[in-house]
């Protein structure tokens, strides 16, 4: 149990997808102008990362590894991620068309989100069990969503601040992101003893 908790804390905070691994930066800058859009994108990404990592683990363990097809890993994972996004889009549309109307715009963006592929490749590198890899993927995406929502909150506040014209918009956004990354570096000093 303790090892799973440590794995999840490590994935969400210490090795945060955005601020420590620098993955998913396009959505980090593009969809964080409002908190509710950041929550929508974060939740959609969490769902897709978790589901696609389950599928990626199965493909890696039962297809690529036994048949020595490791060189096809990246291409296969991209295909699996695209299929997972398509599955999510179709499912949400079937489950509730009004929900799809509201949330559908975020899904195509996830296909090209490098955080999804990055987490899948990290799972292979880590050689984890199925449950460990699913929890790692879930925690990584929770870390992603957490940073998205925090940054969106900061940007909403910055919109009311008197920022010098030279720094207004993305420049001050990058400065705040770097300060946030410095703050998250503090988690690397955590000790379990």
């Amino acid at each position: 149990m303790k090892e799973y908790v440590l794995l999840m804390v490590s994935a969400a905070l210490v090795n945060n997808v955005i601020l420590a691994r620098f993955l998913g930066l396009c959505s980090f800058m593009g969809v964080t102008t409002r908190i509710d859009t950041a929550v929508g994108m974060g939740m959609a990404t969490t769902f897709v990362i978790t589901v696609s990592s389950m599928a990626d683990w199965a493909v890696q363990s039962f297809l690529l590894e036994p048949y020595g097809l490791g060189y096809l890993r990246t291409v296969t994972f991209i295909l699996v991620i695209a299929a997972a996004v398509q599955f999510t889009e179709m499912t949400v549309k079937k489950v509730s068309p009004p929900l799809f109307e509201m949330l559908g715009i975020y899904l195509p963006l996830i296909t090209t989100n490098c955080a999804v592929l990055g987490v899948a490749l990290l799972l292979v590198e880590g050689r984890m069990s199925f449950i460990a890899s699913t929890l790692f993927a879930f925690a990584s995406s929770i870390g992603y969503s957490l940073v998205m929502v925090m940054f969106a909150g900061l940007r909403e506040r910055m919109a009311l601040a008197d920022v010098p014209r030279l720094f207004a918009g993305p420049p001050i956004g990058f400065i705040v992101a770097s300060l946030l990354a410095l703050a998250f570096m503090g988690f690397s000093g955590m000790s379990t003893s």
């Binding site: 102008t33 509710d36 859009t37 589901v51 499912t91 949330l103 559908g104 715009i105 090209t112 449950i131």
Partner: protein, 169 residues
């Protein structure tokens, strides 16, 4: 500084906050109108502009057409008119929780229980897929309740002013 500016007396602060967007009328069907969300000029200005970056999957026009929706016609709108529509501010969060958090919670719970009980990857995998299916059923029920309360329905606010866009920056 805005702090000393007197509040606008016409503003109704008791009304629920709305997230606004612009759409144009593409068809009229009895007492209802079909609206299509408007494509914005640049990315990042509003939530709808997120779709502009996804040109790889179909064209923007196709995606906008797929996102047509219907509302009541309270102001005798005609085809081609631009209108401002809105959804409640927390509607997106409620919708995200219903669509994604509920299935994820059942998926992870069933996986954790199967792993604790059997300790086999294959059984855990099967339990997670079953948990996902169960979560989608709950999600459908939750979405139905949101729909009945009118939380997901966009509302007509007013006709858009000439040249008005959803970019407020």
């Amino acid at each position: 500084m805005m702090m000393n500016t007197p509040a606008d007396s016409a503003t109704d602060y008791s009304a629920p906050a709305l997230t606004e967007g612009i759409a144009h009328v593409v068809a009229i069907n009895g007492g209802k109108v079909w609206l299509e969300p408007e494509q914005t000029g640049s990315c990042g200005g509003c939530a709808a502009s997120g779709a502009c970056g996804a040109k790889g999957i179909g064209t923007v026009a196709n995606r906008l057409e797929a996102r047509r929706f219907q509302i009541e016609n309270p102001a005798n709108l005609v085809v081609g008119e631009r209108v401002v529509i809105g959804v409640r501010d927390n509607a997106l969060i409620k919708a995200s929780i219903t669509a994604y958090a509920v299935p994820l919670a059942t998926l992870l719970t069933s996986g954790a229980m199967a792993q604790w009980r059997f300790g086999s990857d294959l059984i855990t995998m099967a339990a997670m897929v079953a948990g996902l299916g169960l979560g989608l059923v709950f999600s459908r029920m939750g979405a139905g309740q949101l729909l009945m309360r009118g939380d997901l329905a966009p509302q007509f606010i007013r006709r858009a002013r000439p040249g008005e866009t959803c970019n407020h920056d």
